[in-house]
Subunit: 323 residues, 2 copies
C-alpha cells in the first residue's frame, strides 16, 4: 500500500462539526487547506459559522499560512458532497463505536482507497472502527485535543488492519499541517494522553462525589500547582528534577511509601528493578545528558515566562510590610 | 489560641535542606525574610549554597522584595540554632511518618507555643505528625510544589488537634509571602493536588511497567497536549469548555461510556444526579456567569501566549508547500 506524498494534500473533508470537527476545520483552514465540512444536524451550519467567526481572529493573530483564506471552507449536510475530491478525511462524529464503524464503512465506499481516513475518536480502537470496511488499511486514529487549532498534540495509531504506511503517512501529514504528531506503536484503549487525563479525571469525580474537594478547589490546585509544570515538562521529567542529583531514582525510592497509601483510588504497580531501570533510562534520554543544574535552569526560565505571561508572579512589592 | 499578626513575621526557620527545603529558603529570602536553614547532613551546606547560587539570578530577575538580600540567610547543622527567635517554622525533612512525629515533638519543646510550625509533607496527615507534641494546636501542613520559589500553590490544612486559628494564620501568612494558599476544609491523604497528580503518576508507572508507552511518549503527550491546558485552567473548566454550549453536562453524558472502559486502572464513580449537579454548579461558579464564547476567547488568548512563549506555535510559513 502506498499513498501520495502528504505535501500534495489540498482539500480536506471534516465529517461532523461539533466542537472538535469545527476546531479541526479552523486549524486546516488557517494552515492553507481547502476544507469541506459536513454535519447532518440542521443547527450545525449556524453553529459552525459562529464558531469560525470567533476563532478566526485568533488564527489571524497567530499568522496564517500564505494561501489561507476564510472563504476556502464550505459546509454541507450531505456527506458525499463533503467527501468529493478530498485528499484526506478527518472524522469527528460522536464517540460511539457502532456509529463510527457504520460511518467508516459508508465513507470507505465513497472515498478512493488511496486516501487516508482518520478518526478523531478519544479512545475507541481503530480495529473496531474499521471492522466493517473493505479498505481498512488506510484508516487511522488521529486523536486531537481541544481546541485542535491551538493544542499541538495529535496521537496517531492504526488498527489491526491498518497498513504501517498509512500510520506513517498520517504522522507526516499532521506534521506538515502544523500539528505535533505522537505516533504510537500499539493500539491502546484511550491511547496515551487520555489514559493519563482519565486517571486524573476519575480521581476528580471521586473527590467531588465524596465531598472531599470542590470543583473550585480542584481546578485551583491544578492551575496554581502541578498544571503549570505540565505545560513545560511531562510528569516523568518533572519528578526527575524534583529528585535532587539522583533524580527519578531518588523520587521513586523516597515516595515508595506513597504508592502504598490510598492517596487516590488507583492501585500502583510494584516498583520492580525493571520499572526503576525503564524510568531512569527514559529520564536520562529526556535529559539528553545535560547536567541537572542546566535542566533546572531551563525549567525555571520557562516557568518564569509562563507565570509572567499568565500574570501569576507575585509582585516584587508584595512583602513591603517587611523590613 | 491567638497568633501574632502574620505581617510581623521577620525570621523563618527551614528545617531540612533538600530540594524542597532549599527551595522554600530561596523563596522566603527573595520575599524579604531573614532565613535560618538547618540540615544535619554534612554535605547539605555545600549543596544548599550551590542551589542558592543557581536560583538567585532567577529570583533577582523576578524582582526581589525591597529588603531582600542574599546575606540574610544562615545555615547550621544544629536545629536549636536555626529555631532560635524564629517567627515561623517550615519543616522539610524526609517524608517519613515516625521521623516527622519525633521531629515535631522536638521542635515543639524548643519553639514558643504562639509560633506556627508548618510541615511540607506531601501527604502524611498532620494528625499523625502532631501526635507526640504538647502544643499541637499551632501545627499545620503547608504543602508546596517543586520548585517552591516558582510554583505558587501551597496547600494548607490542619490535623485533628490543630486550632482553626492556626490554619487561618498560615493561609494568610503564605499569601503575604507571595504564595497562592489553598485552604482545605478537611484532612485528606495526599491533600488535593497530590491525589490528582498521584492518580496520573500511577497510570504513568503502570504504562511504563506494562510496556504500553515509553517515558518519552508519556512526557511528550502531556507537554504537547493536556498539560498546556492545565497551566491555564483546571480539569473541570477545561472539560466544561470542551462540551459546547451545554458544557460539562454534555461532556459527562457524551463520555459516560468512557468511564466504563478500562482507559486507566482506576474505577470511576457512578455518574449520579448529585454528581452531575455538583460538577455543573462548580463549573457555573468557575465560569462566573460569563458566556461560553467569552470563556473560549480568554482560554485561546492565554493558550496562544503560553505556546508562543514556549516556542510551540507552528510557524505561519510551515505549510508554504501549499497553494
Amino acid at each position: 500500500m502506498t499513498f501520495r506524498d502528504p505535501s500534495t494534500v489540498r482539500r480536506i473533508a471534516i465529517v461532523g462539526a461539533g466542537v472538535i470537527g469545527s476546531g479541526w476545520a479552523a486549524h486546516f483552514l488557517a494552515r492553507g487547506y481547502e476544507v469541506a465540512v459536513q454535519d447532518p444536524d440542521p443547527v450545525a451550519a449556524d453553529r459552525f459559522w459562529t464558531f469560525l467567526d470567533a476563532a478566526w481572529p485568533t488564527l489571524e493573530g497567530l499568522g496564517l499560512a500564505p494561501c489561507a483564506a476564510r472563504h476556502r471552507v464550505s459546509f454541507s449536510r450531505d456527506i458525499e458532497t463533503a467527501l468529493e475530491a478530498a485528499d484526506f478525511v478527518q472524522e469527528c462524529a460522536p464517540d460511539d463505536r457502532e456509529l463510527k464503524a457504520e460511518l467508516f464503512a459508508l465513507m470507505d465506499a465513497v472515498v478512493p482507497p488511496g486516501i487516508v481516513i482518520a478518526s478523531s475518536t478519544s479512545g475507541i480502537p481503530m480495529t473496531d472502527i474499521q471492522a466493517k470496511s473493505k479498505h481498512p488499511e488506510r484508516m487511522v486514529v488521529g486523536h486531537p485535543f481541544n481546541p485542535p487549532y491551538l493544542i499541538p498534540l495529535v496521537e496517531v495509531v492504526g488498527g489491526r488492519q491498518t497498513a504501517a504506511a498509512a500510520v506513517e503517512w498520517a504522522t507526516a501529514f499532521y506534521r506538515l499541517a502544523g500539528k505535533w504528531s505522537l505516533r504510537l506503536d500499539r493500539e491502546l484503549l484511550g491511547f496515551v494522553a487520555n489514559r493519563l487525563q482519565e486517571a486524573l479525571w476519575r480521581e476528580v469525580l471521586h473527590m467531588v462525589s465524596a465531598g472531599e474537594a470542590t470543583v473550585e478547589q480542584i481546578d485551583a490546585a491544578v492551575v496554581h500547582g502541578p498544571g503549570v509544570r505540565w505545560a513545560i515538562m511531562g510528569p516523568c521529567l518533572t519528578f526527575h528534577l524534583a529528585g535532587g542529583e539522583q533524580g527519578i531514582r531518588h523520587m521513586l525510592q523516597h515516595f515508595e511509601h506513597a504508592l502504598l497509601e490510598p492517596w487516590c483510588r488507583m492501585e500502583a504497580p510494584p516498583l520492580t528493578d525493571s520499572l526503576y531501570e525503564r524510568m531512569e533510562e527514559g529520564c536520562r534520554q529526556a535529559a539528553a545528558d545535560r547536567p541537572m543544574a542546566e535542566l533546572i535552569r531551563d525549567r525555571d526560565e520557562a516557568l518564569v515566562r509562563v507565570l509572567a505571561i499568565l500574570g501569576r508572579l507575585p509582585a516584587p512589592g508584595s512583602s513591603t510590610h517587611l523590613g
